[in-house]
Structure formats: C-alpha cells, structure tokens
C-alpha cells in the first residue's frame, strides 16, 4: 500500500501544529519521523489515524484520496497505530485484548475464542512476536504488551503500522527485539512509520528519515546521515552532543552507603549489601539494565523505602532512619525517575511546584501562612534562570513538555542548599535541546563541589556524564570502572559478569583499566551477554566510548 500525505495543515487556535506537511511512505518501508517533543509528530499521526481532521491537505492511499472521520475509517483503510500509552485491558488475556472490538461469534452466537487464539498464535509465529495468547496482559512486561498492541493492529489487517515513540518504555534489550520485529514486518511488506526523537534508534531502523521541526518538514535524510546532521536539523542549530567537561577534582567522600540492603513490598531483596562512596565534585554514574534495583536504591537513599540493613551517611551524619524531609533538609537534591508521578504535582502551577519541598520554610511561609508573593517571585527567578518555557508561573505544570517539566524539577532541587544530587534517568524522554541543558547543569553542579549520583539505563548518558561508573546487576554492584572503559566491558558487567579487574577492592575506582584485558574480556563475554539479553547489543559493536556518546 502506497501512502501519501499532501500538504497536511492542522491548527489549534494560533498554534500551527502541522504546517503543510507532505510525505510518502512506500510499501515495505520503515519511515522514521524524527523531531523534538512538540515538533508535531504526534499531531500528524493523529490526523493520519482519523483522531483529528486536518484543516488543509489530504491523505492519499494508492493514488486515491481518503478521508478519515474516526480511527475506524483509518483501520478499515489498513492503518494501525500503537500508541505511546498502551490501550489494553490488563485483566484480559492477550487473545481477548486482540479480539476486543472485532469479536467473532461462532454459529451459536458465542465468542469464538479458539479462532482468535489461533490467529494470535499464527501471527505471533509468522513475525516471531512470541506472545502467548492465553497470558494475562497485566502479567506481561512492557515490551510484550507492546507486541500485543502490534498483534492487535496486524489482526485488523494493517498495511501501515504507526509506532508512536515505541522505545520510550523499553529496555535496550527489548528495543533490539522490537527492531527485529519491525524488520520482519517490513520484509513481509508492511510499512512502518516510526516516531522517535532518539537519533541512534532512527538511524538503526529507518529506511528514510523525515525530520520535523515546529510543525514543518525541514529535511529528508538517508539513515546514513550523521548524527550531528540529524540533530542540527531537529533543533535548528548545531547541538553539542558531547558534554564538555574538565576532569573531575574529587574531594572528600560526602555520601557514604555501606552494606545497604533494601527489600521490596513483596519481601524480595532488591538492593543486596551495596556499598559505595560519592565524593564532592565527582559524578558517579550507576549503569545497568532497568529493574536491577536502581529504583529501590534511590528510594532507599531518599527514605522513601526503609533500609533492611546497612547505613547511609551524609558527611558523617547518619541518615539511615531519617525521613524524606530530613534528608532533603540535610542537603540531598533529588530528581526522581518518574517525573510526572514523583517529581511534580501535575495539577499545580509551576510556581507551586517550584516550592513543593520548601513551602513551609522562609521566605515562602511565615508561620502557617503561605507567602504567595515570595512564591511568585521565586518562580519568576527560577523560570528565567532555568529557561523554563511556560506561559507564566501560574501555568499548570502538567501541560508543560517533558523537558520543561524536568527543568522545573531541577530548578526546585538545585535551588535548595544541597551537597548531594541524586538524579535518576534525568533525561528520559527528553528532546536533544533539553538533554543538553540538563547535562550541562549536572556537570555544573559537579564543578561546584556537589557529589552527584546519576542513575541511567542509557549507556550514552553514563559515558557523557560519569567520572566513575558503577554497574548494577540484581541488586549488587558488579564493578566500578573508569569512563574510558570499553562499552563491551560494561555490557558484560550489566549481564552479571564477574568483576575480574577490581575484585575485592570495589570502593577504589580503577583509574587505568588494562585496555587489553578489558577488550579480551569483552570479546569473550559477548555470547554470554547475548544469551542473557541484558546488554544493548550495539554496545558490544561500538568501538569505544566516543562513538556511542553521539546520541546523547
């Protein structure tokens, strides 16, 4: 099926979300739509999927103009969409979810479960999707849920599959699996529209890349285009992809974690006897595949989850049993992993969010009274200092873009007196411009003598920021490495490989890892890593830190 968009324009009041966008998708092509958050990618796809009507322009399918009043029409025309947030019923099985809305009845009028199950199994087999039709959706990991969404679209005979930011929720290994599926779909003749703001993923999967900026097409590129070229098209200026930073000059240890063990609500041990120090003026990067206890470690450091044993001290002050407020007041700045859930109150104004952990202190409060003018003044100062793009300080925080929300959180946390900064996945889902801003601020903090912990599952981010890398696997630190370490070595550690280089001396960063040894170990470990699937496979192909820094 040949799909063409001609001069699509969509306005919301004064805002032009799509400005005369034209593009065509050939059968069996992976067409990537690349653009920053707010560039108009999702609006365009909502137009294509019949969720919105364009103000101008037309959709042409196989040479014939088509008009979609609802997703139903789009589906009938062979267009399928996998939304960023899945539309699944958690308590239903995979087969039930797939059949939802197109239930087929047998002769007696009962649901034909067997046929649906067979269809799911067939599709699953044909495209190597590997989903069990009888599994309950709520029991499936995110990556598999996404595949259920893909099966849903395929069962409805989609010839064009729209994937809206499909990798935002996936681990590196799951992303690689998704890419395999996309390639298989493409080879079977299905066109895929892949929406993303991640340069490296787009380069890895796309046949054609269309770059959107401010609602307009600013260029088309082959996947062989350089990352710098794509990035500057996206943001309209040359972006610095690597963070410029001086070598660290670490001072004395500020935050000490010793033998920390944390259990989950279910009694499972998530953090298992972890020990490390963070010094003033250094960035410790905690790498690892998500779900290896990083979240629980951060929660324990912030007092949001009790420590089963071990101790956390800040400048020799014991904080192991301290409340979250006591820790914040003791000088920990915290950027939580899930910014909409834990970082912001979405329905509060930007100004209110900027004092969320300071509202009861001077000058924002006198006695029990809030000082609204001080809160507003603080907001104006922070908004201009951190370049938060918002209508005013009274704007509801939930309406800001992800990058601006993160800036609000950073502005709040760094505005407080602090000695330690803990930032978990600080740039997840952000566009290039915001990532650059956040990274610069974090390095800035380090240069001002703050002890920084960065938890990230993106190796690029770890390489860009960390002065010392700790790799977490199943609640333990499998090794500390210098940032010059080979990516394959990190991949090996992320898969639970033994800490051969620095065994028994985990607290001291190995300043000079033996390059030969690391490479050898890395090479030897590749099959093992692939078997366990925890490391991003491209990491093991990347010849070194420099190349993989580019996507940041």
């Amino acid at each position: 099926m040949e799909l063409e968009l001609r001069g699509i324009t969509k306005r919301f009041g004064p805002l032009v979300a799509n400005d005369g966008i034209s593009l065509s998708v050939a059968p069996g092509q992976v067409h990537a739509l690349l653009g920053e958050n707010g560039a108009g990618k999702t609006t365009l796809m909502n137009v294509l999927y019949g969720l919105m009507r364009p103000d101008e322009g037309e959709i042409v399918i196989d040479g014939k103009p088509a008009s979609f009043d609802s997703p139903k029409d789009a589906i009938a025309a062979g267009i399928g969409m996998v939304h960023q947030h899945f539309m699944l019923v958690p308590v239903f099985t995979v087969a039930e979810n797939v059949t939802l809305g197109i239930e087929q009845a047998d002769r007696v009028g009962l649901l034909d479960r067997r046929r649906t199950r067979r269809e799911v199994a067939d599709l699953s087999h044909r495209y190597g999707l590997d989903v069990d039709p009888d599994a309950l959706v709520e029991d499936l990991p995110v990556g598999l849920q996404q595949r259920v969404e893909i099966v849903k679209a395929l069962v409805r005979q989609a010839n064009v599959l729209i994937l809206d930011e499909p990798t935002a929720v996936l681990t590196p290994a799951e992303t690689e699996e998704l890419f395999r599926i996309i390639r298989q779909l493409r080879d079977g003749g299905t066109s895929v529209i892949f929406i993303s703001h991640k340069l490296r993923e787009v380069q890895a999967i796309a046949d054609t890349i269309t770059v959107l900026r401010r609602g307009a097409v600013v260029g088309q590129r082959e996947p062989s285009a350089t990352a710098e070229d794509l990035a500057s098209l996206m943001v309209g200026r040359n972006v610095q992809l690597r963070v410029n930073k001086e070598p660290a000059t670490p001072g004395k240890p500020v935050l000490r974690v010793s033998d920390l063990t944390v259990r989950g609500d279910d009694g499972r041990t998530w953090v298992d006897g972890l020990s490390f120090d963070v010094r003033a003026g250094e960035i410790l990067g905690i790498a690892g595949v998500q779900g290896n206890g990083q979240t629980e470690l951060c929660e324990a450091l912030m007092g949001l989850r009790p420590a089963a044993s071990g101790a956390v001290t800040l400048n020799d002050r014991d904080l192991t049993r301290a409340t979250p407020r006591a820790r914040l007041r003791a000088g920990i700045a915290y950027v939580p992993e899930d910014r909409t859930e834990d970082g912001l109150v979405g329905s509060f104004s930007v100004a209110e969010n900027l004092v969320l952990d300071m509202y009861d202190r001077k000058p924002f409060a006198s006695g029990v009274n809030l000082n609204l003018s001080a809160i507003a003044k603080n907001a104006d100062a922070r908004i201009s200092e951190f370049d938060v793009r918002t209508g005013s300080s009274a704007t509801v925080a939930g309406t800001l873009s992800g990058g601006n929300q993160q800036k609000v959180i950073l502005a709040r946390e760094l505005g407080r007196e602090h000695k330690v900064l803990i930032a978990s996945q600080p740039t997840r889902g952000l566009d290039v411009g915001s990532i650059e801003f956040v990274h610069r601020r974090i390095v800035d903090q380090r240069d001002h003598g703050v002890a920084v912990i960065i938890v990230s599952s993106e190796l690029d981010e770890i390489y860009a920021l960390a002065d010392r890398i700790a790799v977490m696997y199943e609640g333990k630190i499998t090794g500390f490495r210098d940032p010059s370490v080979h990516a394959a070595e990190l991949g090996r550690l992320m898969a639970g490989g033994a800490d051969v280089v620095t065994e028994g001396d985990a607290d001291v960063p190995d300043v000079a890892p033996v390059p030969g040894a690391a490479t050898m170990l890395g090479a030897a470990a590749v099959p093992e890593a692939a078997g366990a699937e925890p490391a991003p496979p491209e990491a093991s192909e990347t010849p070194g830190a420099t190349a993989s820094q580019e996507e940041t």
Partner: protein
Amino acid sequence: MTTPPQAEPAATPPAGADKGREKSPRKSFGTILRESFLEGNTFTVTVLALVTATVLGGILCAFTNSTVLHAPTAGATISRAWDVASGTYVALFEGSVFNPHTIAALFQQASLSTAVHDGYLAAVFQPLSETAVQATPLILTGLAVALPYRAGLFNIGGQGQFIGGAIMAAWLGYDVHLPIVVHVVVCVIGGFVGGAVVGWFTGEIKARTGAHEVIVTIMLNYVMQYFLAYLLSSQSLLQASGSPYPITPSIASNAHLPLLFGSNLRINVGFLIALACAFGVWWLLNRTTTGFEFRSVGANASAARVAGMNVERSWVLVFLIGGGLAGLAGSAVIQGTDFTLNPQSYGTYGIDAITVALLGLGRPGGVVAAGLLFGALHAGSPGMQTITSTPVQIVQVLQALIVLFVAAPPLIRAIFRLRAARAGGVGSTMSKGWNA
C-alpha cells in the same frame, strides 16, 4: 451546533483557543459567547445540569398531577401541565426566597413600627431565614466532605461525625450550667470536638492500617447511630428523666445559638458559623502551609511524599478537621433549631453533604452556593405541597436529578452537544477516585 465537534488535544489551553477565535473576523460576539459556552467546562456543565434537572423535575411534577392526567384535550393537558409545573416552582420560590404577598401585607400596615412589632416585616424575610437555617448544616457537612476530598479522601462519615458533635453539644447544653456567652461557645467547641474525634479515628485507622476510608466511615456511621440509640435508651445516660421517648432533655437557653433578627425569624448565629467555616476552609486550603500539604497529597500523593511531606499525617489531620466541621453541623442543629437530641436528629445530612460537596465542585464557595440551593429546596417544599399539592418527595427527586446530571458530565455534554473539556469535572474525578 451542526458542525462536528472539533477534537482538541488535552494540552491545548482553552485560553489559546479563545484567542484564535477572537482573531477570526467572521465570528460575531454571539458566536464567541456560544462557543465559549460550548467549551463545556465544569461550571457550564454544572449550570446546565441544574437547568436540565429543573426542566425534568417540572415535567415530572406536571405529569404526576391528577388534573393534568385527566385533562379533556391535548391542549388542555399542555396548558394545565404548564400551570402545575410553573405553580410548583413559584411556590418553591415563595417558600424559600421571597413571597410578594408578604410585601403587600407589610404595606397595608398603619406604620412601620406596628409592622415590625406585629411581625409583618419579619414575614417578608421569613423565607430567606428558613433557607439559611436549612442551609447551615448542609454547608457545614458539605465542607466536611469537600475538605478531605481536596486531600484525596472521601468522607462518607458525615452522619457519624454529625452525631458525635450533636451528642457533645446536647450533653454540654443541658448538663452543664454556664453563663450566657460562655455556654454557647463551650457547646459549639464541644460539637467540633465530638465530630473531630470520630473523624480523627477514621484518619488514624487509614494512616496506620491502610483501610479504605469509605469503608471505615460507613461502618462508623452505624457505630455512631447505635451508640446514640444506646445513650438515649437509659435515663442514667442521656435520656431525659421521666420521658418515655428516646430524647435528651432540652438544652439550657444559655446554650441556644443567638437569633440574628429577633424572635420571629429562626436564622441564628449558626449560619454565620457556617459561612465563617467556609471562609476558614478556603483560607486553610489556599493560604496556609497545611492546606498546601493537603492539596499536594490530594493531587499527587507520591510526589508529596518525595517532596518530604508526611502523607499519613495529612490524612489524619484533614479527617480530624473534616469531622469537626460535621460536628459543628450537629451543634448548629441542636443549639440553633432543635434544642434536644433524638434518634432522628441526624436526618440525612451525612448523605446530603456528599451531594452538596459534589455540586459545589469541592470548593468552599461552591459548597456555600450548593448548600443554599438545597436549603432553599428544603425550605420551599412545604409551601409547594400545600399550594400545588405536589408531593414533598419531588424535592428529593429534583435533588437526585441535579446530582445525577452533575455527576455525569458526559451526559450533559451529550444533551447539549458540548465539547469534552479537559479533566471532565469533579464528578468524573470523584467516581475515578473510588478505585484509589
């Protein structure tokens, strides 16, 4: 209304959309007005819900009336139906807001002084006074629901907390002897404390064990109901000595809430207390650090926790204050109008409170407005029954219709073809919250 509703992304602020319209030269002021109405925000939906309920209520009144049903011709049916429906609402209005006959009677008096002395002036204000009297406990219990609601909690326990307050107010009222102003103050404070203890208990259980407050409050309603029945069953407890009925002795006249405008009007200080409480709740929520905590906990408890707030403490505190407000309603009824406590004293305030809070969109000002509206319905219903022989129950039907439409914004939007506004009103948030 013929154009299909334009889908708008949730993130687009309505203000921006309005600006776009103003720029467009083709659109008249009327169009702009209509379109801003069609935005379907919660206020519009609430107003339209009231209108819809009124119209439907009128139709119900008319077509349950025997004169309408036995009309000889179709034309007669329609005109009689109109007479009955409009007559019902006129009677309701005259009983709750203003009755022109009282003005006529006032001007027939020889002089102003005799008019005042014989109660003719008071008669003019009598409907409003009744409305205020009826509204007082509704506003207070409504606040008792609205405040915890802002902290993300549902207070279904207005009834139990009301009883707690009423017991304290009644007991302090008849069993203690104090000078004139002091006695009133002590009883009112006692009422607050009585309700607050019940509310605090709920909050404490929720904070310590995680038990859902809806279950706890409903169960506590029963506990308090039977506790009251027990207290009133024995003369060694609260029952009036020598009385065969389960009723307390009358409270001392020192404990009566002072009347505001003389002995002909029942309006009393309780109404002012209710208004002051509404202001107090507004101030607490919007101007204090505690209120900031309540709102944060209500809007996003996990972000509040990460920001160092003590979520559990907020739960306990907000339920304590909410319970106290419902307790004040109990004290207002005992000290303002009833002067004794019996097993019927608590009426349906606990449930009406949810309605009032819902209609008031969970905001103190809205609760006052909703409380006055329902107070007016209560105050006007007896007159309505005598004049148009519409059963009093129609008032309950009206209330139910209002709640139904307010709680179902999509229904109102469908009827009036409004666009879906973001969020979808307090009704949908409330129903969503049940799963929390």
